[in-house]
């Protein structure tokens, strides 16, 4: 991992993009087991249809985990102070997710220099699925 230097960063700087392979039903089954989120709507098509959905769909938290990888590929996790997202649209089976991040603010808080990142996930059609923010701390 390249060491990220606070002073050399500017608002508008972008993180290296992370793109996943298309989300498969196996991915959803693995995430169901690994996460402990056993809501059948993500893995059982009969249940999903009964609930009025056309198909199973991805856990929002799977995409939030992808976006978390984008951030921790860039800075060590112990510099992560806050991380939040809004699940803007449903991520579907077959979607290929691109995670992007951009520096939007440099500031000081709790005695350290901090960066705010704007984060998004998009599918292969450029539809935004998650919008979020992370705050990164640089202890002096």
């Amino acid at each position: 991992m390249t060491v990220i230097n606070y002073d050399s960063l500017n608002v508008g700087d972008r993180l290296p993009v992370l793109t996943t392979r298309p989300i498969s039903r196996l991915d959803l089954a693995l995430y169901c087991g690994a996460s402990g989120d056993h809501n059948p709507i993500h893995v059982d098509i009969d249940f999903a249809k009964g609930a009025g959905m056309p198909d199973v769909f991805a856990h929002g938290m799977l995409s939030m985990a992808f976006l978390g990888r984008l951030v921790t590929n860039w800075v060590p996790q112990h510099q992560l102070r806050e991380y939040g997202v809004r699940f803007v649209a449903i991520t579907h089976v077959g979607d290929e997710i691109t995670c992007e991040g951009e520096v939007v603010e440099k500031f000081e808080q709790d005695g350290e220099q901090r960066l705010k990142l704007a984060l998004t996930t998009k599918n292969q059609h450029d539809d935004i699925k998650l919008k979020g923010e992370a705050v990164i701390g640089f202890p002096g």
């Binding site: 392979r21 693995l30 009025g52 985990a65 978390g68 921790t72 996790q77």
Partner: protein, 147 residues
């Protein structure tokens, strides 16, 4: 309509152990190939005091509650009608494999939009470790689709 008298209600506190095997399975499920998240030596070489709990995994540990459906049952919500609206983590101290984390959830807010077609439940959870240190705060917004 969800009964707003439950705003402020606490859900049962519980503890969950951070296990290396669970984190390995989670790393596989999210395509995480950074050795820091599965290998203690790699984690220590990278300056961590152990294998770190990845940023979103606290939400997964919150599912370890003795009754993960407690909130839905209390508010009488059908699982087929819920969507995850928002999720936020504020991190105060790192958590590692071997830690025993205690989760204290409460209902922070309940509100409706679009004339009740969508209802929102906000759960806030405080997480502390076995030394009583505050590890994180979680905020989860659940959307309930009505009609």
């Amino acid at each position: 309509m969800i009964d707003t008298r439950f705003i402020g209600a606490a859900l049962p506190e519980f503890s969950a152990d951070v296990e290396a095997g669970r984190l390995r399975f989670f790393a596989k499920a999210i395509g995480q190939d950074d050795a820091v998240y599965v290998d203690e030596a790699a984690a220590r070489a990278a300056g961590f005091d152990g294998i770190p709990v990845p940023p979103t995994f606290l939400f997964c540990l919150e599912m370890e509650a003795p009754n993960p459906a407690a909130l839905r049952e209390m508010l009488n919500i059908d699982i087929g009608r819920v969507l995850h609206g928002e999720q936020q983590f504020i991190y105060h101290a790192p958590a590692y494999v071997g830690d025993r984390l205690t989760f204290s959830p409460k209902v922070a807010d309940i509100y409706a939009k679009k004339g009740g077609a969508l209802e929102f439940v906000v759960r806030e959870t405080r997480v502390t470790n076995q030394r009583g240190e505050q590890v994180a705060e979680l905020r989860c917004v659940t959307v309930v689709r009505n009609g």
